[in-house]
């Protein structure tokens, strides 16, 4: 196939460009464990409120020093609506929905995941900067979708707050 040398040069450049992107993404994933939330676990959405995994909502300290946040996303609120977590410590969000699909997003961070009835969502991150963050629903869930929100307070442990 005869291709103009300039066009050939551009095609090679495009391949290099795309290779850089793929390499960046793959290295982040394998070396640093940067993955989008992809937890695989199912639950009955009709009985999830009494399921032992979600019977008690809130923030729990785990033995390894990390923190687990157990939340429900439902029309049109997060339960609990306000969450306090320490800065600099791995935080595991475990969430599910008893009704429709929701999205959980902590504004200004990389916490962004779909919450789907019948499935358990897990998001793992570490908040480095103390402060108050907006938690909001980013997947359309009905008439009150735009009011579905909550608060995440990241506390500076060393300051003793």
């Amino acid at each position: 196939m005869k291709v103009d040398p300039y066009e050939k040069a551009w095609m090679v450049a495009a391949v290099v460009l795309l290779t850089v992107f793929v390499a960046t993404v793959v290295v982040s994933a394998t070396a640093q464990g940067l993955h989008p939330p992809s937890h695989v676990e199912t639950i009955d959405p009709v009985t999830c409120r009494s399921d032992p995994r979600f019977a008690e909502l809130g923030v729990f300290d785990l033995e390894d020093g990390s923190v687990e946040v157990v939340m429900l996303a439902q029309v049109w609120a997060f339960l609990p609506g306000e969450v306090h977590v320490p800065a600099g410590v791995p935080v595991v969000f475990r969430m599910t929905s008893p009704d429709v699909i929701h999205g959980v997003q902590v504004v200004g961070t990389n916490v962004n995941a779909t919450v789907i009835p019948g499935y358990v969502t897990e998001v793992v991150t570490t908040f480095e900067r103390p402060g108050e963050y907006l938690i909001l629903c980013n997947e359309y869930c009905g008439t009150g979708h735009h009011v579905m929100s909550g608060k995440l307070i990241v506390e500076d442990e060393e300051a003793g707050s």
Partner: protein, 536 residues
């Protein structure tokens, strides 16, 4: 053929008009402007109507109409006109059914209609009929191509037809997913015959369709860029062979990438998401090649018109021609949209932008401009050729693409920025009870609303030209000719990229590799399903 194509184009313009009215209200609502009768229910109804009418009705009907024009131009006829008309009426009936369901407020589920949120069954049945009707077009296109090939053995089809055939195959392959979702899962469940539905399975089937559908929107626009634009610009198609390669690459790569819409979903293991991410970067390649081939074709035209220097030829191009201006600005916008796509595709980084306003900024540059503005330009080009009437209000047609471009810059840039600041898409208003982080978005939502108003003015110009031409356009003594671009170097015989049988097989194999294992893993989970909900 003229009546058939015109019927499709007119339905598409009508859908566009209704959807544009919905859009201007939404843009102002987000900026919290108090409009009369503004309610959250109406907002979500109108987002649903806008998405369905623009994304599924305007595009599909326009592509079918334009497709028939190209097929007849190259092959000399349409094989199966009866089937083509039957498809039109079925698709139109489905469109009306779904539209009534949406406007009555019983289907405010957005154009992605994720269960377990449940719409009225008429919405799903209407959507299914629209898809079934469009299959008639795909079959007619492939039959016409097949008959022409039998009569012209070994002769490569013009790239315009080659692109349309790739589009038809792509459409048949990808609509399979949404057809199964709607017919097997959603319709029985919405009628109450089945109690529960698995939302992840439904989403996976939807996005099996939902990503290739963007190439269904894009490929016919590429057909115009490759097969018409060089002619309008006074140049020639720079590389015939690479054009064929591009269409084939889209055919094989556009379906096995759908999981990139589900990067942050639970229930799907990360390694399959990564696999789809890598293929997604692969599909940027044919668009990169397109950028070169099309711009080089224009450079040939600009230089033939006396343009000199490194960039002087750009100013010699026919910017006053509505089709040329529309496509040139569509391409310029798509250059930015493509970059945003590379950000979305970036696996972990997707968590930064997923379902934020960034996404609506992104696809208004791609489908909302690369495809839609090209289709508007093509409508100006098609109308005289289909109706025998001269374009009315030409200055409006000349200025309209520029207004669209400027409005879309305001709208899309503002949404990209607010998306990075964390504002979600598809919200009635974004104040979140005065939260500090949300207050920072407000100035940008005003910019976005201003863009929405400019876009609406542009859409009104478009509507005025179409209606004006139909009602008052001067009758021409003869139909203007349909002229396709000549390649710089015409291939003597069919080559590797003309073997559609082989490439469709490759496409199917890739789809099986990309989806078989994740679907198997999903289906073997202890799944409970979810009962229907109607929170609107």
């Amino acid at each position: 053929m003229r009546k058939l194509a015109l019927a499709h184009v007119l339905v598409s313009v009508a859908a566009f008009g209704l959807a544009a009215m919905m859009a201007v209200m939404q843009a102002m609502s987000r900026a919290d402007l108090q409009l009369p009768a503004r309610t959250a229910d109406l907002y979500y109804l109108s987002v649903t109507a806008h998405g369905v009418l623009m994304g599924l009705v305007f595009t599909t009907f326009f592509i079918i109409g334009f497709g028939y024009v190209i097929v007849e131009k190259v092959t000399g006829r349409i094989v199966g006109k009866g089937l083509a008309w039957a498809g039109f009426w079925v698709a139109l009936a489905g469109t009306l059914l779904a539209t009534v369901a949406i406007l009555s407020g019983r289907a405010s589920v957005l154009y992605t209609f994720y269960p377990p949120m449940k719409a009225h069954p008429a919405f799903y049945i209407g959507a299914a009929l629209l898809v079934v009707g469009s299959w008639a077009w795909a079959i007619v296109t492939l039959r016409s191509f097949h008959e022409w090939r039998k009569e012209n053995p070994g002769r490569p089809a013009h790239v315009g037809l080659h692109g349309m055939v790739a589009t038809a195959w792509l459409w048949l392959l990808c609509t399979l997913g949404v057809a199964v979702e709607v017919v097997v899962l959603l319709i029985p469940w919405s009628l109450g015959w089945v109690e529960r539905i698995d939302p992840v399975l439904a989403r996976t089937l939807f996005w099996y369709f939902g990503h290739p559908v963007v190439y269904f929107w894009l490929l016919p626009a590429y057909v115009a860029w490759y097969a018409l634009l060089p002619r309008v610009a006074g140049g020639k198609l720079f590389s015939d062979k690479l054009t064929r390669m591009v269409f084939v690459l889209f055919l094989i790569l556009s379906t096995p990438v759908g999981l990139h819409h589900q990067f942050v979903d639970p229930g799907i293991a990360s390694q399959w998401k990564l696999f789809h991410a890598i293929l997604t970067f692969g599909i940027l390649f044919p668009s990169m090649v397109t950028a070169f081939t099309v711009i080089a074709s224009l450079e040939l035209g600009g230089r033939a018109r006396g343009g000199r220097g490194l960039f002087g030829w750009i100013f010699r191009l026919p910017w006053g021609d509505p089709l040329f201006a529309a496509i040139a600005l569509a391409m310029l916008t798509f250059a930015t949209g493509g970059w945003g796509g590379a950000v979305n595709a970036a696996y972990g980084m997707n968590a930064m932008v997923h379902n934020t306003a960034w996404v609506q900024g992104h696809f208004h540059m791609t489908v909302g401009t690369a495809s839609a503005l090209t289709f508007m330009g093509l409508t100006y080009w098609l109308l005289p050729r289909l109706t025998g009437r001269e374009l009315k209000f030409l200055p409006f047609a000349q200025v309209q693409p520029w207004l669209w471009f400027v409005g879309m810059c305001f709208f899309s840039i503002a949404n990209h920025v607010t998306g990075l600041m964390g504002m979600p898409r598809r919200v009635y208003e974004a104040s979140y009870g005065g939260a500090e982080q949300a207050q920072a978005w407000a100035p940008w939502t005003a910019v976005s609303a201003a863009g929405g108003v400019i876009l609406f003015v542009s859409a009104s110009c478009f509507g005025l030209v179409v209606v004006g031409t139909l009602l008052w356009g001067r009758r021409l003594s003869e139909l203007p000719p349909i002229e396709l671009a000549e390649p710089l170097e015409a291939p003597a015989e069919e080559g590797l990229f003309d073997r559609f049988g082989t490439w469709v097989t490759v496409a199917v194999v890739l789809v099986v590799i990309a989806y078989a294992i994740p679907l198997y893993q999903l289906l073997t989970l202890p799944r409970f399903g979810a009962p229907p909900q109607v929170p609107f």
